[in-house]
């Protein structure tokens, strides 16, 4: 039965491996969007002018309040409808089809950013005021304080939460299979359909997801240890 997972034209090994690669690509890109946009949304919530604050709050509330699958559908069909309408204004009336990769990354990134924003906002608020005042009192500028004091200190509080957001983002990529992107879940489904071996293909996919999540968990633990220098030692002494 395991022959079915052989690499080459008569096995599913290479399709599954490419699917896993696609899953990682979507997850990593979406997560990067999540961290960058999430930082922006957190900054808007913490110190933006009132209308910007309000928009940021609406964004996190809505995106966290609706299923990720809905965001994907909305972006895929709503997005192509919108672009078709804009193209129509310029006299183009052909069919509009969005790249499912781009839509997948964007949709999962939008969801990831909403959760990351909350984690980052909480972490920034947790940094004691005195740590920043000491920096201001020494004549450090805003950007320098951000880079040298605020980010390293906030990272301490943010990393466990950001690790969770990563796991969630990785698993949310499975939803992108609904727009026929050939990621791991989609490939497992196709393999299962053509061979009638659901157990084999889904267990294989499960194992691959587990490998990805446990490896990244170890990575986050290492990052946390590094960010918590100066704290852990005191606790463990």
């Amino acid at each position: 039965m395991l022959d079915l997972l052989r690499f080459g034209s008569d096995g599913w090994g290479d399709e599954i491996a490419r699917g896993a690669g696609m899953t990682l690509a979507v997850a990593i890109l979406a997560y990067l969007i999540g961290i960058l946009a999430g930082s922006g949304v957190a900054a808007a919530k913490l110190s933006g002018p009132a209308p910007v604050r309000w928009l940021a709050a609406a964004y996190t509330t809505i995106v966290r309040g609706v299923p990720a699958l809905l965001v994907i559908w909305l972006l895929f069909f709503g997005g192509s409808g919108l672009i078709g309408w804009v193209a129509g204004l310029f006299g183009y009336s052909g069919p509009v089809e969005l790249s499912s990769f781009a839509v997948g990354v964007t949709a999962v990134g939008i969801v990831s950013a909403a959760y990351a924003a909350e984690v980052i906002r909480g972490a920034v608020t947790a940094v004691p005021k005195g740590q920043l005042e000491a920096a201001r009192a020494l004549g450090m500028g805003r950007f320098l304080i951000l880079r040298r004091i605020l980010v390293p200190q906030a990272l301490r509080y943010a990393l466990p939460g950001l690790g969770n957001v990563w796991q969630m983002t990785l698993k949310d990529t499975t939803l992108v299979s609904v727009v026929s992107l050939a990621e791991l879940m989609r490939q497992a489904y196709l393999g299962m359909q053509s061979t009638r071996q659901p157990f084999l293909f889904y267990v294989t996919a499960a194992i691959l997801y587990m490998i990805m999540t446990t490896c990244s968990e170890a990575l986050f633990r290492a990052l946390s240890r590094r960010a918590e220098r100066g704290v852990r030692r005191a606790v463990n002494n």
Binding site: P128, A134, G139, G230, R233
Partner: protein
């Protein structure tokens, strides 16, 4: 005032004129004027809530005064009316003023993610752009001066409060400030650790540093300061030499305060 230079009149290191500060409806400073000449040690005393810490924090703009003028070394801090009231007109100027105005906090505020040495060289390297090896050499000299050479690579969480405060003083000294602001530097310390911090501050006073010290240590204020300022409800009630203020205060409130503090 004996140590202030008399050549062509004393040089004004800090000048504060008619400072007002409100937090909401609560007016914490109600028109405070204060001067410190170069080399002068000024002790700010008064009960909690009298506005002495706020006054100190207005001098390096950690709090933005609502009205009034602050001059450091003759340079006036430019203010403008912004959307949220009085605002510094030039962030660069504020940063420059702060580089010349060191501050020591009640809660030390050493950066917890850096070792003692990293704390001390941070601003010299990144703000003053000093070469790192030069900053390290100076930091080591300062650590020796405050008696912490052995703690060079320790994290703040591994040190006692007294050690942390001495390290924080070394961090301030690394910027070679013209004026030093001490905001209740020993109030968060266990009684047996107060002495080691006061000793370091006393040595700085003897070396001729210009200092404003908010303190509840009356004996210390009496001993090291040239001028004592007593604040009450956002106003200066009494100021003079330690002998005048402690020996023969003219204000009834100051008298009451000092007797509560066990100084009369």
């Amino acid at each position: 005032m004996s140590s202030a230079p008399i050549v062509s009149g004393p040089v004004r290191a800090v000048e504060v004129e008619a400072l007002h500060k409100r937090f909401g409806d609560n007016e914490v400073l109600k028109g405070v004027s204060l001067n410190a000449t170069e080399g002068e040690v000024v002790a700010l005393i008064g009960s909690s809530g009298s506005g002495k810490s706020t006054l100190l924090r207005c001098i390096n703009l950690l709090e933005i005064p609502d009205e009034g003028v602050v001059r450091i070394g003759g340079e006036q801090i430019a203010m403008k009316q912004g959307r949220h009231g009085n605002q510094p007109a030039d962030a660069r100027q504020v940063e420059r003023i702060r580089q010349r105005c060191g501050m020591v906090f009640q809660s030390f505020n050493l950066w917890t993610h850096m070792t003692v040495l990293e704390n001390i060289i941070e601003a010299p390297v990144h703000v003053l752009k000093q070469p790192k090896d030069q900053a390290i050499a100076k930091a080591e000299a300062l650590l020796a001066k405050v008696g912490l050479s052995a703690k060079r690579d320790a994290y703040p969480s591994q040190m006692s409060g007294g050690q942390q405060q001495r390290a924080a003083i070394a961090r301030m000294l690394a910027m070679e400030p013209k004026v030093m602001l001490f905001d209740e530097p020993t109030s968060a310390l266990d009684p047996e650790l107060v002495g080691e911090v006061l000793k370091v501050i006393r040595d700085l006073a003897i070396e001729g540093a210009t200092m404003l010290i908010v303190t509840h240590e009356m004996a210390f204020a009496r001993e090291v300061s040239h001028k004592v300022v007593f604040l009450h409800q956002g106003r200066i009630e009494e100021q003079g030499t330690p002998a005048e203020v402690f020996g023969n205060p003219s204000s009834e409130r100051c008298r009451q305060f000092l007797s509560r503090e066990g100084q009369r």
